[in-house]
């Protein structure tokens, strides 16, 4: 009986860990600009997608359920 309960707990913990990673992955995005990298996460969870337009950001452009919007551009080096 004790072994069964332990097994259930262990399996539960593993599933929870995978679920947490899945949530984090679905909401976190990153992109690189040369040596620098840029990332964004939706602080309140929910949808977050990486894409862009040339107005708000090409390198990264995330939209979150709480309405926040993160944009960034890879920029040319100064002449």
């Amino acid at each position: 009986m004790f072994k069964k309960i332990t097994l259930v707990f262990v399996l539960g913990a593993i599933l929870l860990t995978f679920y947490s990673f899945a949530i984090a992955e679905s909401c976190g995005e990153s992109a690189s600009c040369g040596a620098s990298s840029i990332s964004c996460n939706c602080s309140e969870g929910g949808e977050c997608s990486k894409d862009g337009d040339s107005i708000n950001g090409w390198a990264i452009n995330c939209y979150c359920d709480d309405g926040s919007w993160e944009g960034g551009f890879c920029i040319p080096a100064p002449e």
Partner: protein, 331 residues
């Protein structure tokens, strides 16, 4: 006695002006779509659609289906009419088509982000002309002024706007910019989204400053409105201040992304902001710049109406980003 009367009148004026001052946050409208396209019509399955323009001449709706490198044309009830273009660098082909604008002769101007050019088509979408942009850095927002000149955000780091002819020659620059310590990035720091109205007035909103400006058709500044009373704008600035310390890098310009799109009709300016749940559109009086109300373009439970056009007399057309659909609302 006269002094007392004068004071009473003054108090009355102050009271009336205060009592007629509308609280925008309490004056919200929620719109429900009356028509949509993008889920069932196989000809119009959008992929990362960017920018939507209603054409007041032919009464059609034009959508930059950016991810599919094509332009989709719909009638005013969102029925599919035609698609134009495919991926490529040749004439009539597209690589990330974004901004759309129409001249008085109904020539269709398409801005391509990755080909860094503008192609000009007639109403049948036959290629009329096109040109490579004179330098790098130009952005999607474009419009045509009352003299058929093409307006773009300037990239000279000294002006806000450049006016180009149909061959891509820069005819002139105007607009005062915000100074930036990294001068070579001033063009990004001063990026705006903008639209002309029917009378040739220009309305622009800064992507990185909480400011809305109106210029007359002679390019003189008419008014400047501060938009930092908007909760979403405040939140975006606060988020940016946090991000700039955590995520900034030498090869990255972090945008504040304060605004999403701007549109104009006969009476109002419509400014979509970020930072607020539901991504509302704030409505301003076109003559005074005074805020009036905010509008939510809803779609199911989770939605991001990222691009829109309010220029039709009776309807609103919008791109909803999450589900990649085009929606029609009654005004």
């Amino acid at each position: 006695m006269r002094n007392i009367l004068a004071v009473k009148i003054l108090f009355c004026i102050i009271f009336i002006s205060c009592s007629t001052d509308i609280n925008v946050e309490e004056n919200s409208e929620y719109k429900i779509p009356i028509k949509e396209i993008g889920r069932e019509d196989s000809k119009a399955l959008f992929y990362k659609p960017r920018f939507i323009k209603y054409n007041n001449i032919d009464k059609r709706v034009y959508v930059s289906d950016t991810g599919n490198n094509r332009i989709i044309v719909l009638d005013d009830n969102l029925n599919f009419i035609k698609e134009y273009g495919s991926f490529g660098q040749g004439p009539g082909e597209f690589n990330r088509p974004e901004g759309i604008a129409f001249s008085k002769e109904n020539l269709i101007h398409i801005f391509e982000a990755s080909n860094s050019r503008i192609q000009i088509f007639n109403s049948q979408f036959m290629l009329n002309s096109g040109f490579q942009l004179p330098s790098a850095g130009f952005r999607a927002s474009l419009d045509i002024d009352s003299n058929d000149r093409i307006l773009l955000n300037a990239v000279d780091n000294k002006h806000l706007f450049s006016l180009l002819d149909k061959s891509g020659n820069i005819l002139g620059n105007f607009g005062i910019v915000y100074e930036y310590d990294q001068n070579h990035l001033s063009y990004l720091h001063n990026q705006t989204i903008f639209r002309y109205d029917e009378d040739g007035n220009l309305y622009c909103a800064f992507v990185n400053h909480p400011v809305l400006r109106k210029y007359d058709k002679f390019n003189n500044l008419v008014f400047e409105v501060n938009t930092d009373f908007i909760p979403g704008v405040k939140k975006q600035i606060k988020n940016w201040e946090k991000r700039i310390t955590e995520k900034g890098g030498p090869n990255i310009y972090l945008s504040k992304s304060l605004v999403r799109d701007i549109s104009i009709d006969k009476s109002f300016i419509y400014l979509g902001v970020a930072g607020e749940k539901g991504f509302p559109v704030y409505v301003f009086n076109k003559m005074t710049g005074k805020p009036i109300k905010k509008i939510y373009l809803t779609y199911g439970e989770s939605y991001i109406p990222a691009y829109y056009d309010f220029s039709s007399e009776n309807y609103i057309y919008a791109i909803e980003k999450l589900n990649m659909v085009v929606l029609k609302y009654e005004k």
